[in-house]
Symmetry: C2
């Protein structure tokens, strides 16, 4: 998949999810401006893209993608709220994201807290409004279940569990591989699994395929993060001419610092291979999912 | 209604909602401890109480109250998350709530942000898990709609709109009565309307009664807040021997500072009277709702 094709797909997803942005009006206009500021600063829209392509891969019809558009938008809202709160001074304290001032730098901390809360809440409003309007009983049941998947994967048993443990590990002396795996699984993989599983549910896939999609999401998330640890280590090694990454300098334990570079690379290759295999084994419709997955697991920077 | 009777009812509600607290386990245990700390620090459980009593007032059966228990718990979770985030240094910066250290004072700011997010998310998880398990189609439809009401009233068109405008008004020179009304309606009334309306939906009330319950909630919320402004003004007048409340000293505009004490009192009496009338006009089953409403609108401290 070329850069141009990916951009084209991002544009297509943008066109599908933009109608679900809140209108900037009312006395509370500023909260909508703050929400949309971060929503519009979005990157490749990978998560809604994964949902759509999982749906298509498992036999969902191109004509039906507009039915799942509100859920694609909600998926991106959940991701966006997590970034707004992650950037806060009390969390990662980041001033810039994708070259633009972070939400609290632009709107102030109070508004950023409210906007994040509002964005998470709005994801559910968007899905509920759509589900209640849904006239088809089969689709209604699918939408209810998809909402449950997103809620679970975003909450204290999903993404937030990963954020919590990641934070706890910052002040922990003996971080274990188990800790790192938990953080990667929850903080990263959970929100990759969610869209893949939701797409599978929407496609009406059998339970066995839904489970395989969930496993694929787990492997993709893990591969992505291990690759991140590897690139950080190698990048710094090359740049600094010695065997140390920025994580190592900060004395932060990573998959690489615990298992060593060689074994980390082997694990990453094995997991990506398995993820690829799972995805390809399920294909029943034309979809760009294998190529998007390839981008996620094979990136070199 | 005596203090003892109210405490008894609070205990009954506590017993109904406690089973929906998250278990404190897993590597992310600390986020659950933080959530439960604030959940357990709860007061009278007025909002879930309003839901149950609205349900009973409109003919819901005492035997069916366990069916709505997960929604009563979710209602309290939404309220609790809003308190955790409200107390944060970047919002109201409060160190104590109900005599105990606020969440961020006890668990740190990072965890408090995560715990608030997790609590909002968990409210939806709780409602969705229950709705999906619901075998009765009529109840399922009611639950879906109740979820929508809570989502709407908690979000950027409800409570968060009020919080946003309240914050904006702190730095606004000419705060109008319209601003104050908007803040009271959204920040306070929205989460009183939500349980009343949800209870009415669960009781299977006709649309006209659901609308009347919504209007009653609006009036109760407004009365409550105007009474708050009055008590603050009068209390300080008595204490300080001069006509100024703590809000006035902080140069904060309130319903009283804009309309004057006399007219504010008249409005409060008129609104409470109307709210009482609406509630009583709807009663078709035995319920403590009129007495709980009385407590909310007639408090003297």
């Amino acid at each position: 998949m070329t850069e141009a094709q990916l951009n084209e797909l991002t544009k297509q997803v943008d066109d599908m999810i933009y109608p679900y942005f809140p209108k900037e009006e009312g006395p509370q206009k500023r909260i909508f401006e703050s929400m949309n500021y971060s929503f519009e600063a979005g990157g490749k829209r990978i998560r809604p893209m994964l949902m759509m392509e999982s749906f298509l891969l498992l036999g969902g019809s191109e004509d039906d993608t507009d039915i799942i558009a509100p859920f694609m938008a909600a998926m991106e809202m959940v991701h966006t709220y997590s970034l707004i709160h992650d950037d806060l001074p009390a969390v990662d304290d980041d001033d810039f994201r994708r070259g633009k001032p972070t939400n609290h730098k632009k709107f102030g901390e109070t508004t950023a807290i409210f906007a994040g809360d509002a964005m998470l809440n709005y994801a559910f409003e968007t899905m509920l409004d759509d589900t209640i309007k849904e006239a088809d009983d089969v689709w209604k049941a699918k939408k209810l279940r998809a909402m449950q998947v997103l809620a679970r994967n975003a909450g204290a048993y999903g993404m937030l569990a990963g954020q919590m443990v990641d934070y706890l590990c910052e002040n922990k002396k003996d971080v274990t591989l188990e800790d790192i795996m938990f953080i990667h699984e929850k903080k990263t993989a959970a929100l990759i699994q969610a869209p893949l599983v939701m797409g599978a549910i929407f496609a009406g896939a059998p339970e066995e395929k839904i489970a395989r999609m969930e496993q694929a999401g787990y492997l993709i998330g893990l591969s992505f993060q291990i690759q991140d640890d590897i690139l950080d280590c190698v990048g710094n090694e090359e740049k600094l001419g010695k065997k140390t990454g920025s994580d190592a300098r900060k004395e932060k334990s990573t998959y690489v610092t615990i298992k060593g570079l060689k074994e980390a690379k082997e694990d990453q290759v094995r997991m990506s291979h398995e993820a690829r295999g799972l995805i390809l084994s399920m294909a029943t419709g034309p979809s760009l999912l294998p190529e998007i997955v390839e981008i996620l697991i094979s990136r070199e920077s």
